[in-house]
């Protein structure tokens, strides 16, 4: 027998003074292989045409659809209803500005994050269109890619106690981004530059190490390893024992 599902959805339109935050129940029959992308569109098509939520790729790669599913921040498009009990509670991710219902403004947050950690290769070199590309060991490229896989879904921020209570906390995704550039031999920032960026209470030393981020990251990034690596390396810097900088050090994020 197909189950009857109850989608208990957070509804609130912050722009409408009459609207009050509340949960509304929507019932539907479960069909085989139903996922929350399809389920939410059915709600919108049949029951609540003005329901706000965000999907783009609906394939688990763009990071748009992070929401709290029974309290756990994760990607809705890759969540099958079969994995959930009959009552499914959906709420927007905390720590981001609410746009309406399940939709939150991750875009502005992440742009701010990129600006704050200066998420780009810092180099004095000019691009020379005639020259062959700078060579890179494939192993290094793979390690960078491992951290570059972050899809900016924001789940690690929503699931982070520190980010939930401190607005200025960088968040796991930002620390991971910094780790990605630390690994990159093309980036010429030195230990002192990194130190100033991460060795603070908004950075890795503000992280309580609760590992919510690592446990919810849908891309299973090795976030804790990145943090541990940063703590070690920053301590070396503080102790004046930092090894050579800018790419010549090949760190051990596995």
């Amino acid at each position: 027998m197909a189950r009857e599902l109850t989608l208990r959805i957070f509804r609130y339109d912050p722009l409408n003074p009459e609207s009050k935050p509340c949960f509304v129940d929507y019932k539907m029959e479960e069909t085989p292989r139903l996922n929350l992308f399809v389920a939410l569109h059915r709600v919108r098509e049949k029951q609540a045409p003005d329901l706000q939520f965000d999907f783009v790729c609906r394939a688990g790669v763009c990071g748009s659809c992070g929401m709290m599913i029974n309290g756990r921040p994760t990607l809705a498009c890759r969540t099958l209803t079969a994995e959930l009990p009959e009552t499914i509670t959906l709420a927007p991710m905390p720590a981001f500005k609410l746009i309406g219902d399940l939709s939150v403004d991750t875009g502005t947050w992440f742009r701010g994050m990129s600006e704050r950690v200066e998420s780009w290769i810092h180099t004095q070199k000019e691009f020379d269109p005639k020259a062959e590309e700078q060579r890179m060991d494939d192993g290094t490229a793979q390690k960078i890619y491992e951290l570059e896989r972050c899809i900016e879904c924001g789940c690690c921020v929503a699931g982070c106690a520190t980010a939930n209570i401190r607005e200025d906390f960088l968040g796991a995704t930002a620390l991971n981004r910094i780790g990605r550039f630390m690994l990159d031999p093309r980036d010429e920032r030195d230990s002192e530059d990194w130190f100033e960026l991460v060795a603070t209470d908004e950075g890795v030393f503000g992280c309580m190490g609760l590992m919510g981020c690592d446990d919810v990251c849908p891309k299973e990034l090795p976030l804790l390893e990145v943090f541990a690596y940063m703590r070690r390396r920053m301590s070396q810097v503080a102790a004046g024992r930092a090894k050579a900088d800018a790419g010549t050090s090949q760190p051990v994020i596995t």
């Binding site: 339109d13 722009l15 069909t31 085989p32 292989r33 996922n35 992308f37 399809v38 919108r44 098509e45 609540a48 045409p49 003005d50 706000q52 965000d54 783009v56 790729c57 609906r58 394939a59 688990g60 763009c62 990071g63 748009s64 498009c77 890759r78 099958l80 079969a82 994995e83 746009i99 309406g100 939709s103 991750t106 875009g107 992440f110 742009r111 990129s114 200066e118 998420s119 780009w120 290769i121 691009f127 269109p129 062959e132 590309e133 700078q134 060579r135 890179m136 060991d137 494939d138 490229a141 793979q142 960078i144 890619y145 570059e148 896989r149 899809i151 900016e152 990159d184 093309r186 980036d187």
Partner: protein
């Protein structure tokens, strides 16, 4: 009074093409603002996994590669429907573009010298990778190419390139206004001045005025019922260009289908499944492909397999499901090891999205719309026909290096190359212009949109008896069933009639919700007419093109016809009309005259006029169609053309 924003260059779309163009335009000294429906890194460019083509020739199977070969593969792939000069620009610039992305941080997979194992045509082979190329960008194989030239980052090429591109945008401080949808262009006397934009956070309208407006809004796959495209790929960029009544869309009938999208959700699973021995089964779990294609079976080309699958489902052999009919992909016999290593991505998609374990269960699949070759017709600089100051790059444009069929890996490369090349041209052009801030014009354009919205929110338009989702579903059904992979004259004619009727009905929309803010139903209602227009352009273009070329296959006209159809379809939508007006232009200067592709096997009707005569008329007929003057003369990039053509003649 609503907000008015001015800038030198307005880019609509923050995918790879839009961002790259913005970077070039900004390098030319322009102030640039980018608009996007979603945060830039969520644009659909991030979903491309495979890779992008550039003739670097670093690995052993890429040895001896050249821009010339890349160009030739592209021309063949397009079934000679492309603009060969643009294909030249593309092939010549692609290597620089890849290296530039490497410079800015893309962690390309690199060459590892020494022996390496590959699966080629189902067999394991060991090849020796050249040590002297250690650490250069690696390549993988793709369909329709003579060398391995696809640059990639593991299984996340689009993602890493887009992230790097957006990093560059952040570094340069280029403003990106996300959750902003351009809903109409502001234009006057053949000159584009910017766009009316709706904020998807608040529902407010704003006007943006700029010297140059660039549409880089990606594909329009979502007019089809089943598409591998992101759900935002609804073609709103193309439709606002069409709405001007001036700008033509090129080759809209050229649509690419991929055989294996999963059901539901239509996510792409790679061709590698069948390459490695996966089988297609029907409702009786019977393997049907050998009956149709005794020779190649499951491994015939993309379009052929898609056609056969459709045919078989039409015979009632599809598997019914609440999400529509489908067939099965059987991977069980490949074994756990293979599925969890070589086809890891496929395994994950099945597990996460379907809850189906491909080691033990069948995977539901069906042919799915994948790419739109057609789009806003532009010249080689990216300047749109018939409307000065409007530009377009990326999948939304018909720059036309793909002709009637694009090769895998060429579209991602196109976005970056076109962004680079056209971005520079439009940046230079914008420098020669002065910004006219005509607030009266902006107000008129804005009010027109505001009235549409007001009508929708208060009671509905016209007779107010039509529902947005319903109309869109009906249109998608028609398109899917009748303008799909296999096309027949009478079905296409029915489709045109059906779609036109739906388009007329869309004048009587009524919404079920009434709130003014970021109401998704309102957004859909505003997009709907545009989507229907695009659907009609596709259907009508397909109906009139009585030949089979590339992605367009007519059952009733199975031959490629170079005598009558070495042409590009141009669709314009006169203001107030119910269907597009179709005209034609030559595909472009021919350096390589039409020939055999070396695959596909269809028969051709040969060209009758000489290549010289054909080339002669190109510029004249293009100008008639609204082609704008380019920075360099037509044919400039085809340096060898004269010699090449004459050697072919003799």
């Amino acid at each position: 009074m609503s907000e008015l924003i001015t800038t030198d260059v307005l880019v609509i779309g923050a995918g790879l093409a839009g961002e790259r163009a913005a970077i070039s335009a900004s390098a030319e000294g322009n102030e640039v603002v980018i608009l996007s429906l979603v945060p830039p890194r969520r644009s659909h460019s991030c979903a491309a996994q495979g890779g992008m083509q550039a003739a670097l020739g670093n690995c052993v199977k890429g040895a001896g590669d050249s821009e010339e070969l890349h160009w030739l593969d592209t021309v063949k792939g397009s079934d000679w429907g492309c603009d060969q000069e643009v294909a030249r620009i593309f092939a010549d610039t692609a290597p620089v573009a890849m290296r530039e992305m490497a410079h800015h941080g893309v962690p390309w997979t690199r060459v590892k010298g020494g022996p390496a194992d590959y699966f080629i045509k189902g067999k394991k082979v060991t090849l020796e990778e050249p040590h002297e190329n250690e650490g250069l960008i690696m390549h993988r194989d793709f369909g329709g190419v003579s060398r391995w030239r696809t640059c990639y980052t593991a299984d996340g090429t689009g993602h890493t390139v887009l992230y790097t591109m957006d990093n560059m945008v952040v570094e340069l401080g280029i403003a990106v206004h996300d959750r902003m949808e351009a809903i109409s262009l502001i234009h006057d006397a053949g000159r584009c001045h910017g766009a009316v934009v709706r904020c998807l956070r608040t529902g407010e309208l704003k006007t943006y005025l700029a010297k140059a407006t660039v549409i880089a809004s990606g594909g329009f796959g979502r007019i089809y019922k089943y598409s591998t495209n992101a759900i935002i790929n609804q073609g709103s960029g193309q439709s606002i260009a069409l709405d001007t009544g001036l700008v033509p869309l090129g080759n809209m009938e050229a649509v690419q289908f991929h055989p294996t999208g999963i059901v539901p959700t239509d996510i792409l699973v790679t061709e590698g499944c069948r390459g490695d021995g996966g089988l297609l089964l029907d409702v009786d779990e019977y393997r049907f492909m050998p009956d149709y294609e005794p020779d190649k079976q499951e491994l015939a080309s993309r379009d052929v397999v898609s056609r056969r699958m459709t045919e078989h489902m039409q015979k009632g052999k599809g598997v019914p499901s609440p999400d529509g009919e489908h067939l099965w992909l059987d991977l069980r016999h490949l074994g756990e090891d293979h599925l969890r290593t070589k086809l890891r991505e496929v395994y994950d998609i099945c597990m996460y999205f379907l809850g189906v374990n491909p080691i033990k269960e069948l995977v539901p699949v069906r042919p799915t719309q994948h790419y739109s070759m057609g789009g806003i017709r532009v010249n080689k600089d990216g300047h749109a026909y018939s409307l000065k100051g409007l530009w377009s790059v990326g999948e939304s444009a018909c720059w036309d290096l793909h002709g009637m069929n694009r090769l895998g890996g060429n579209s991602l490369a196109e976005t970056v190359v076109a962004g680079m090349f056209c971005g520079q041209r439009l940046g230079e052009w914008a420098n020669s212009q002065t910004l006219e801030v005509d607030t009266a014009l902006a107000d008129i354009a804005l009010n027109e949109q505001q009235e549409r919205i007001n009508a929708l929110i208060t009671g509905g338009m016209g007779e107010a008896n039509e529902n947005v989702d319903q109309l869109l579903n009906e249109a998608q059904d028609i398109l899917q069933a009748k303008v799909g992979i296999f096309r027949k004259g009478e079905e296409l004619a029915e489709a045109v009639v059906g779609l036109r009727e739906i388009y007329q009905r869309s004048r009587n929309l009524k919404m079920r919700s009434a709130f003014k803010g970021a109401n998704p139903e309102l957004a859909a209602a505003l997009r709907l007419p545009g989507m229907l227009k695009l659907a009609l352009c596709v259907a009508k273009g397909a109906l009139l093109r009585t030949e089979s070329r590339g992605g367009h296959s007519r059952e009733d006209y199975p031959k490629r016809n170079d005598r009558d159809w070495l042409k590009r379809t141009l669709a314009r939508w006169p203001v107030g009309a119910d269907e597009p007006e179709i005209s034609y232009e030559p595909v472009g200067l021919l350096e390589s005259p039409p020939g055999h592709r070396g695959y596909g096997g269809a028969e051709n009707i040969a060209m009758e006029e000489s290549v010289e005569d054909y080339n002669e008329k190109v510029e004249r007929e293009w100008i008639e169609q609204g082609w704008q003057e380019t920075a360099t003369p037509l044919g400039e990039e085809l340096k060898e053309m004269v010699e090449y053509a004459s050697t072919k003649q003799s």
